[in-house]
């Protein structure tokens, strides 16, 4: 079976597993809504400051809800050592890793979409939905970065007894450039002059995505060996 076909087969299995269990997405969406409510109480958000606060609030929510979801998808592989069935198959380890990145990316994008809608409703800020076409590229590039790093680290964390506790500590410092690029590009779209620095931040996101992907593809093989 070729690289593409095995990647699609594993991705399809992950989607099926999520459709059956509904564990990952529901947890991510629940946490994101909970954080929205917390931020609503923590800051005095109104029509005046909502566009300035939105990028920071949203990307922090994406990062934390994302960690939770990616931890769950890795646990599904470690549970009953199911991943060994894939490792001992014609599917390459790289296609296994990429399929997990894609499934995490898909779940993250769904969670982000729901969060954006709730954000718009909760803070009466429908402009953010209007800006989605402009936000799409940096949002996808940033989310891909989260998924690339998160997939690697969530597998790493499942090898440790304190993995779930450790995951945010090892994951968040590494995704700082992604957070920076995501927040800045969203800020430019919502508040800045048209085109002002937007391309620079998008480039930064893409460069870090490629860098993280190259390193993760090399390291993932070692994570699944004891």
């Amino acid at each position: 079976m070729g690289f593409l076909n095995s990647t699609i087969a594993i991705l399809r299995k992950d989607i099926l597993l999520e459709l059956r269990g509904k564990e990952t997405l529901s947890l991510m969406v629940f946490l994101s809504l909970l954080l929205l409510v917390v931020f609503n109480f923590a800051f005095d958000i109104d029509r005046e400051n909502v566009s300035a606060l939105a990028p920071g609030i949203l990307w922090v929510i994406f990062a934390f809800a994302g960690i939770l979801g990616m931890g769950r998808t890795s646990m599904a592989e470690k549970d009953d050592e199911a991943y060994l069935g894939i490792i001992f198959s014609p599917a390459s380890i790289e296609s296994f890793y990429l399929s997990k990145v894609l499934s995490n990316l898909l779940f993250l994008v769904v969670m982000e979409g729901v969060t954006l809608v709730f954000f718009a409703v909760l803070f009466d800020f429908e402009e953010i939905l209007m800006a989605v076409p402009d936000l799409l590229l940096p949002l996808l590039a940033g989310t891909a970065g989260f998924s690339i790093v998160g997939t690697l680290f969530s597998f790493l964390s499942t090898a440790s007894r304190f993995g779930e506790v450790l995951l945010p500590f090892i994951y968040l410092p590494v995704v700082v450039p992604i957070l920076l690029g995501g927040v800045s590009s969203m800020d430019i779209v919502l508040n800045g002059e048209e085109g002002q620095g937007y391309g620079k931040w998008l480039q930064l996101l893409i460069v870090f995505d490629l860098l993280y992907l190259s390193v993760s593809l090399m390291l993932f093989r070692y994570l699944i060996e004891e």
Binding site: I10, K13, R20, A76, E81, G85, I87, S89, A91, E225
Partner: protein, 233 residues
């Protein structure tokens, strides 16, 4: 042909010795039964042989080619756990793995083997609702659908009743007939002895012996279990 050769394989976990200088050869068309009391290092040996665990010292040569390291697609490994997705149904699990090997989801072979193993009637049951024995049967059936050269099975009969144990034994004999190599770690001396061409006995990470079946007896293996410890996991 030598499928797997272990040369002076030593494995330590945080300073604790799990395997001490193991030399072992697994040949095509041969079943090797590995016996040993609890804690003897059978599972570590199986994982090391399969390439899941790297040896601390020593070398493993696969299929006579020391430069090969991408050999996992030619090995079926079944550990203590069943490597199944508990959230999926029986058919979804087996179709997924079958597809990885054959590129097909609904092959005749899949349906035939599932029917033979009594799993077809339960195809729509979620795996998490199956008994331990049925899960084990499903896990082994997954292996029967592959065309691997080597089958490494750690306690494959756990949870299986007499009927299905007998069925699995005859299927494993069939694998041997097809020129596959099979390595089984088991506490079931009679079943393991019946299947095996080569017997190995492990104690505290050391091989006490590796012999042709004709050079040992069930009584001798039972005596070793009595000397060195419990056989029931």
């Amino acid at each position: 042909m030598n499928y797997i050769q272990l040369r002076g394989v030593r494995k330590e976990y945080h300073g604790n010795l799990a395997l001490a200088g193991i030399d072992l050869t697994v040949r095509a068309g041969e079943v090797m039964a590995v016996f040993g009391p609890n804690g003897a290092g059978k599972t570590t040996l199986m994982k090391t042989m399969a390439g899941i665990t790297s040896p601390t010292e020593g070398k493993i040569v696969y299929f006579g080619d020391s430069s090969r390291d991408d050999v996992r697609k030619e090995i079926f490994f079944l550990g203590h756990k069943n490597s199944l997705y508990n959230g999926l149904t029986v058919l979804e699990n087996i179709s997924f793995f079958y597809r990885l090997f054959s590129g097909d989801r609904n092959g005749d072979a899949l349906r035939r083997v599932m029917k033979e193993q009594g799993l077809w009637e339960r195809r729509n049951d979620p795996v998490r609702e199956l008994s331990q024995g049925t899960k084990r049967r499903l896990a082994i059936t997954r292996g029967l659908l592959t065309d691997c050269k080597v089958y490494i099975l750690d306690e494959p009969f756990t949870g299986l009743d007499v009927k299905w144990r007998g069925s699995m034994i005859s299927r494993i004999k069939g694998l041997k007939g097809d020129g596959k190599a099979v390595v089984i770690a088991t506490h079931l001396v009679e079943e393991g002895f019946d299947l095996a061409d080569v017997i190995a006995f492990l104690h505290r990470g050391r091989l006490l012996f590796v012999r042709e079946k004709r050079e040992t007896t069930v009584e001798e293996i039972n005596r070793l279990f009595d000397m060195y410890g419990e056989r029931v996991p």
